[in-house]
Symmetry: C2
Subunit: 198 residues, 2 copies
């Protein structure tokens, strides 16, 4: 096998979900792309990795010191939605339903993976709330074991702020999900949290 | 959304099987990699695209004028296995069962996609056989409509070589495949080509 191909396959398998087979397929595809198009891609990858910054307030990706969401006076600065990662901000923004701010933890507490609360931007969140003006914190953390651990840890840390409303996003059956394929825990939760239909 | 992130997501979706969601996941992963590791990856992608060469004899990827397989005196130079693409060479090499040479067509004939026989390395194959020394050509082409078209076209072109044995790889039920999930055409083929068990 060509050494150049071997190298690129080895490098591409660094990416998540990319095994040797996929890496090979991607490499072969590169050959069909114009060299200039490949260069554009690698240049934007390097630039992204080298120049990306994080918002000093919410830890979201940002090209500036403060991200456009935190800097937007039109948004509701009294509400903070706490999420695990940058991708979650994008998912929520795509709904166009949320007008508050965010706080990106950068992961969840995971003793198994050696991620302690101090590895996450929790102190930044607490300091931010301590500066005042925040009325509600929405915890939009995943329902994994690690997510639940993080949720309880956050609830404990936020208890010090009297009058602060702390909420968690609703768990339930997703739109378009068939009950048959939904796990029991979710169904049980959805039953418990049933709402009267008007 | 950060402009740098937007750029990299747009660029990554150029890759096959990478939609916006996957591109986003890949981008977020890049942030967890060391910058030097990201640079190594992009450098090897650029080098692969810029410096890759094709074997002048068999059209396989090669770092040299003639690829290591064609240049290997230990291999059987009287047998040529014709495949669609570079990845197929790797698949067959991984079996460690084949000791002959290869010929990479670079695709299959596809009027729908505007791929004519002249777009493939078929003349190169014919010239190669015309130089003599080849006893058998194994056609290892996929069973798609385009593959069958290519197979028949090749058989026609190779008919001119008297005494040349032209074979096609066996079609049948794959190891580990359950009959229940195999398509009828394959089953019918496998039944027709049944072998006496010793």
């Amino acid at each position: 096998m060509s050494r150049l191909l071997q190298d690129v396959v080895g490098e591409l398998t660094k990416l998540p979900g990319v095994g040797r087979r996929t890496a090979l397929r991607l490499a072969i595809h590169l050959l069909r792309m114009e060299p200039e198009s490949v260069h554009d891609m690698t240049r934007s990858i390097n630039r992204f990795r080298d120049d990306v910054k994080y918002c000093a307030q919410c830890n979201n990706l940002s090209d500036e010191e403060i991200c456009p969401i935190c800097a937007d006076p039109e948004r509701d600065h009294s509400t903070i939605c706490v999420v695990e990662q940058v991708a979650d901000v994008l998912s929520i923004e795509n709904t166009h339903q949320y007008r508050g701010l965010y706080h990106v933890l950068g992961g969840v507490i995971s003793p198994m993976q050696g991620i302690a609360p101090s590895d996450l931007k929790i102190d930044l969140l607490v300091d931010r709330i301590a500066r005042g003006g925040v009325k509600e914190v929405i915890l939009a953390i995943s329902t994994s074991v690690e997510g639940e651990t993080t949720l309880f840890y956050l609830m404990n840390r936020l208890r010090q702020f009297e009058g602060l409303k702390v909420t968690a996003i609703a768990r339930g059956i997703g739109f378009g999900d068939e009950l048959e394929y939904v796990d029991e825990l979710t169904i049980a939760h959805a039953l418990m949290n049933r709402r009267e239909v008007e």
